[in-house]
């Protein structure tokens, strides 16, 4: 189906080496026949001309028995772009650390083609699968199809927001925690609190397997769970020698950058004063084959991080270690 709106400004975003969301939206309209994608392009072009957004504030919509998971959205120019008159978001809880089978992806695509706009976010910032642009009357049948295929809605509003985590032990040697299992268990424990907002404000759990914190939990989770270890960093001295032979300047790039100066390199071997190590990960990050976290692993839990600058952003504060 041809696109019915002229989009000279958006067309500029089809140029360049980075993948273009404009090209993809056009494909959804032209090849996929999505009226919603067509009118979304039209409205976005208008925003690019006028330099303001065109989505109205709020709108309480949802699925029966839930108080969250759907964000109501309506255009303020429905006479120009009728297919985005309703443009609600459905947040769908992602599998922890976002592994999918191709069948699961196609199932999601089939459900969304049937009930919605063909436009998604893979994923939203919090971690959910996002279906963008649902009409009110399609919410309930879409939800029924999702649950029939093993998917459920995520969190929104003053509720537990969908927990998320890093890739963890599924593909990382540094994971000191079963990040997916923690995330899954928290998610299942708090289903009611996620789907029926009853808390003073939003609340986020995020779990990272090590202090590199690949899900940025320390910056944005009310409760941040970060893997760590209490015993000694494991050293493979043979691999230390291999690094030296391959030309890595161990003194300059590993030893001198240790924040507590607890690591030394003499006679071709690395020694670590583990009592003075703060588990910062730098040496391990640089010498992945020679150094690994210890085996007495657990979690540091930090409380109180948040992003909104309104009252000043906050980072998490360590509460206790186990």
């Amino acid at each position: 189906m041809p696109i019915t709106h002229k989009t000279p400004l958006l067309d500029e975003l089809e140029k360049g080496p980075w993948p273009s969301f404009v090209t993809d939206l056009k494909r959804a309209a032209e090849e996929g026949g999505s009226d919603t994608a067509n009118d979304l392009l039209g409205q976005l072009e208008l925003s690019y001309v006028q330099k303001v957004g065109h989505w109205k504030h709020g709108g309480i919509v949802g699925v029966f028995g839930y108080g969250g998971g759907v964000i109501g959205r309506y255009t303020d120019v429905p006479h120009l772009f009728p297919s985005v008159e309703h443009f609600h978001t459905m947040r769908i809880n992602q599998p922890a650390s976002k592994f999918y089978s191709s069948d699961q992806l196609r199932t999601l695509a089939d459900i969304w083609d049937k009930h919605g706009s063909q436009i998604t976010n893979m994923h939203g910032s919090t971690g959910d699968i996002i279906f963008l642009g649902c009409r009110t009357e399609a919410l309930e049948p879409c939800f029924a199809d999702l649950t029939a295929h093993g998917f459920d809605l995520g969190g929104s509003g003053s509720a537990l927001r969908t927990p998320s985590c890093c890739v963890g032990k599924a593909r990382c040697e540094w994971a000191c925690l079963d990040t997916q299992d923690i995330t899954y268990n928290l998610t299942m424990t708090y289903q009611d609190e996620m789907h029926r907002p009853a808390w003073p404000y939003k609340f986020k759990f995020k779990t990272s397997g090590c202090p590199n914190d690949c899900v940025a939990s320390i910056a944005r989770a009310d409760c941040s769970i970060i893997g760590t270890w209490r015993d000694d960093i494991r050293i493979n001295q043979d691999e230390v020698k291999n690094y030296a032979e391959s030309g890595l300047d161990i003194q300059q790039y590993v030893i001198d950058l240790c924040p507590t100066k607890c690591i030394s390199y003499e006679d071709g071997e690395i020694q670590i004063d583990n009592k003075n190590c703060t588990r910062c990960m730098h040496c391990i990050n640089v010498m992945t084959k020679a150094l690994r976290p210890g085996t007495d692993t657990g979690a540091t839990i930090l409380i109180g991080a948040k992003a909104p600058i309104l009252e000043g952003a906050q980072m998490g504060v360590s509460e206790w270690e186990s």
Partner: protein, 367 residues
Amino acid sequence: MAEEKQERITDIGPPKYDTAWTPFIKENYGKWLYHEELEPGVLMHVSETGAKLWTVRIAGTRLMSTLHMRDLAAIADEFCDGLLRFTTRNNIEFLITDEAKLQSLKDKLKADGHAIGGTGAGITNIVHTQGWIHCHTPAIDASGIVKAVMDELFEYFHDKRLPNKVRISLACCLNMCGAVHCSDISILGVHRKPPLIEHDRLLNVCEIPTTIASCPTAAIRPYNFEDEEGKQVKSVQVNNERCMFCGNCYTMCPAMPLADPVGDGVALWVGGKVSNARSMPKFSKLAVPFLPNNPPRWPETVEVIKNIVEVYAADARSYERVGEWAERIGWEEFFKKTDIAFTPFHIDDYRFAMTTWRSSTQFKFTD
């Protein structure tokens, strides 16, 4: 109706995390020994069992059609036994266990126009928000700025290396759905004008006490007046001198919009990080208080960001993140080297003033 309710499935949660895992992932779970970055975008993980897993990472657009999803699924079927994953930063990872397929997977991804990269000491994908695509409070667009910035920084995603990784994030307003405040470079949409008050509908759509309480600077107060027709109107008014344009009142009260084409724009922040490596996690600090909202390619914003990256690339030591570099050379030097003006806007005289203002004599008296 009652029967329908009984059949309804609710509160089942997400698919369990391992439903998509192949036997290979399950067998090597928790057994990973080390990994190597073979080239930007290609990782090799080696298990204690001796098994190897190759990961090829490509840039995702986050905003994605179901047609695009089906393409990704088809590639996973052809090369990866149907397995793929998405990263926290909107990248897509294809995982293969047969090294013989690595080159053909890369060739296929390139042929389909995908961008391979985003690992290690370079610039990976930008975490971002919805902007004009879906949000009701944005000061700027999101996807368009991300596209414009990453087009310009593409070489750092694809092959060019930096002293360390540079994490860029974008939030289209101060509500900070993008949680950009601990990034090497943050792009933040800001407003510069106080809200307009729609007195004729405010009482119908807003609660006046919650609206007043929403203001962090106590700039909103009740305002009762008689309109031109002699009708008593209950509303609020804003002390504009106290307003810091945060938009929290608009979140509470839709009759107080503050978006406008000239007042809204981009602020840039630098030097944050979430990793605990070497130095502690840090907040990003203000670099540029305002750049114009200039679609479709935001050239002013792109130019400043590219310059920061290039100066960092030339001047930082290996493994220094942007914030670690700026702290070593001193922030005075950061502003000088990047040719960014230091203005009164950079001084926080609000919440953090007592803890962040200089309390030492350790100046570098450079000219």
